[in-house]
């Protein structure tokens, strides 16, 4: 028996979310008294044995560049074979774009109950119960998985990557791959930016910024904080910012350590996507803005005056 952890590679490197997932999986394996194993699909320039330092004992590596692009059908087939071989009872993915494309297929293939968007370790005494976000972050549900094999996808930034002492053995996995029915024509990566869902700090702005020409104030603050940028829905709808920056109930859900909301009123649909942030700072010129009710720290004032000063104050402390 084992817990099988899907370790995602992006551009040849182990993803940060994968380390969180390994720590999460290793902890569950410890609670269940079984071994934690990782599965890696595709080629990587990283030394996989270092994953032992996060608690896995064995790494099963399908080391083939044909797997460098995520393709739900072939990924499902290979992971299902590995689950069978290792008699895994629990398979873990990150609840990100890759997890969302592969986990549902695998769930049907293995008749394994799936809980997506877990935010805590499962409760394993008396059943197997997973806590997940529902209503786009407005509430949590405790969900029992009743099947023999189980699948969980873990929300990013909910379980810390914990380094431990340990080593892992790497075992190559040989497989046959049928030609994909999906022909990839182009891949466009947004390079150099911090992915929104993985960012520790997010600087987000709304209609209060008045127009795209003023976004330098937002990206300037993000830069000194090494943060990702986000925005409210009307801002993305007006094409002031790219669609993938739209956070909220109908956009991306995030849970960074620190979220700056600048010139955003705090509508319920916006809050739904960001209210799991650990610390929320609101800057708004309207003292009655609903966002203040969801904030930890707030400044009532004009963003155009505050942002340059704040950026400078932060860059000053970073440089000392």
């Amino acid at each position: 028996m084992s817990v099988l952890i899907f370790v995602e590679i992006a551009d040849g490197r182990i993803k940060k979310t994968a380390l969180e997932l390994i720590s999460y999986g290793a902890k569950i394996a410890e609670l269940l008294n079984v071994s934690a194993q990782a599965v890696v699909l595709g080629t990587t320039q990283d030394d996989l044995s270092q994953l032992g330092n996060y608690g896995v004992k064995k790494i099963i590596h399908a080391d083939n560049e044909k797997l460098n692009q995520v393709e739900a059908e072939s990924y499902t087939k290979i992971i299902a074979e590995i689950v069978e071989q290792t008699a895994a009872k629990l398979v873990l993915f990150s609840n990100n774009i890759t997890g969302k494309s592969v986990a549902p297929r695998l769930s049907v293939r293995l008749k394994a109950g799936l809980v997506s968007g877990a935010v805590a370790l499962p409760r394993i005494t008396n059943g197997f119960v997973v806590k997940k976000t529902v209503f786009s972050g407005k509430a949590y549900a405790h969900v029992s998985i009743n099947s023999d094999v189980k699948i969980i996808t873990l929300n990013q930034n909910t379980y810390p990557a914990l380094a431990v002492e340990g080593t892992a053995v790497i075992e190559k996995f040989n497989f046959e791959i049928s030609t994909s029915k999906i022909k990839i024509i182009a891949i466009n990566k947004i390079s150099g930016e911090i992915p929104l869902t993985e960012a520790e700090i997010v600087v987000s702005a709304g209609r209060g910024l008045k127009g795209p020409e003023n976004w330098g104030l937002v990206t300037g603050l993000a830069k000194v904080l090494n943060a990702a940028t986000a925005c409210s829905r009307p801002v993305a709808d007006a094409n002031w910012r790219p669609h993938n920056e739209h956070v909220g109930q109908t956009g991306t859900t995030i849970a960074p350590t620190l979220y700056f909301a600048i010139g955003i009123s705090g509508a319920i649909q916006h809050l739904a996507g960001v209210n799991r942030s650990k610390v929320i700072v609101v800057i708004n010129k309207d003292a009655e803005a609903p966002f203040f009710k969801a904030a930890d720290y707030g400044i009532i004032g004009d963003a155009f005056e505050i942002l340059p000063k704040l950026t400078k104050a932060i860059s000053d402390i970073k440089n000392t």
Partner: protein, 247 residues
């Protein structure tokens, strides 16, 4: 060419989220129900656009739910679509729902199955992938653009850290998100004609649920905001550093 659009109902985005029966049931009291936004804005509207471009396209809507789902289905039919199918059973987990949809899809010989990116209540993002696996079809998740030339589709989809453009031959399953289409509002003619469009009620097949919800929980309320004077941003920086320890 036949398109199947999966539609579910969800509470209005401004609905108060509360629970009854010892936190085991969603409190329906005073809640307005809407078509799940991703299903409506992107999946359904893109299907309608395809039909507008090609009269040979037929659109069927499918939902899994009891009769209280009918107003939502009629609303979807008012936007467009030729007929609707409701699998008459209380919806359970996503495996169960996908089993029901796959069963209907098997006999309908659809070329294209659209779902929304996720529902805004349970946020599973899993129906599309599950249906695809049941039917052994390719699954394109989180599509932001969809074009069709005869039976070849060109799709742009979101991937980790960017986007991928791919080509696939029908039949396929696609989950749709922002970019696919622009939300529309139904017009009077649509609303009138929706009343007479067929809404077929079919009985469920026997299928399992693999998960079940024990209970719900609301997040703890925030302790209250600490306000800092606008001319004292240094104090905010100090608090973030020394008190919250986040920078």
């Amino acid at each position: 060419m036949k398109i199947l659009v999966c539609v579910s109902k969800s509470p209005d985005t401004t609905a108060k989220v509360a629970f009854t029966d010892n936190n085991t049931k969603f409190d329906n009291n005073g809640v307005q129900w809407i078509i799940n936004p991703y299903d409506e804005w992107y999946a359904l509207v893109r299907a309608i656009e395809l039909k507008e471009a090609n009269a040979a396209v037929t659109i069927h809507l499918i939902t899994v739910g009891l009769a209280d789902t009918d107003p939502i289905i009629r609303k979807a039919l008012a936007l467009g679509g030729d007929e609707a199918i409701r699998v008459n059973v209380e919806s359970q987990d996503s495996f169960f729902i996908a089993s029901q949809i796959a069963e209907v899809a098997k006999t309908g010989s659809y070329d294209l199955i659209f779902t929304g990116k996720e529902t805004i209540d349970f946020n599973g993002s899993s129906i599309g992938g599950m249906v695809a696996e049941f039917l052994q079809l390719p699954y394109i998740s989180l599509a932001t653009k969809f074009d069709l030339k005869e039976s070849v589709t060109t799709i742009t989809k979101e991937i980790e850290g960017g986007e991928e453009i791919c080509e696939v031959v029908l039949p396929i399953v696609v989950s749709c998100q922002k970019g696919m289409a622009e939300a529309r509002i139904p017009n009077m003619r649509g609303i009138m004609s929706a009343r007479t469009k067929p809404l077929k009620v079919v009985e469920p097949v026997i299928a399992n649920s693999l998960t079940s919800i024990d209970n719900f929980e609301l997040p703890p309320a925030k302790a209250g905001v600490k306000l800092i004077a606008a001319d004292n941003v240094e104090e905010l920086v100090r608090l973030l550093r020394e008190e919250a320890k986040v920078i």
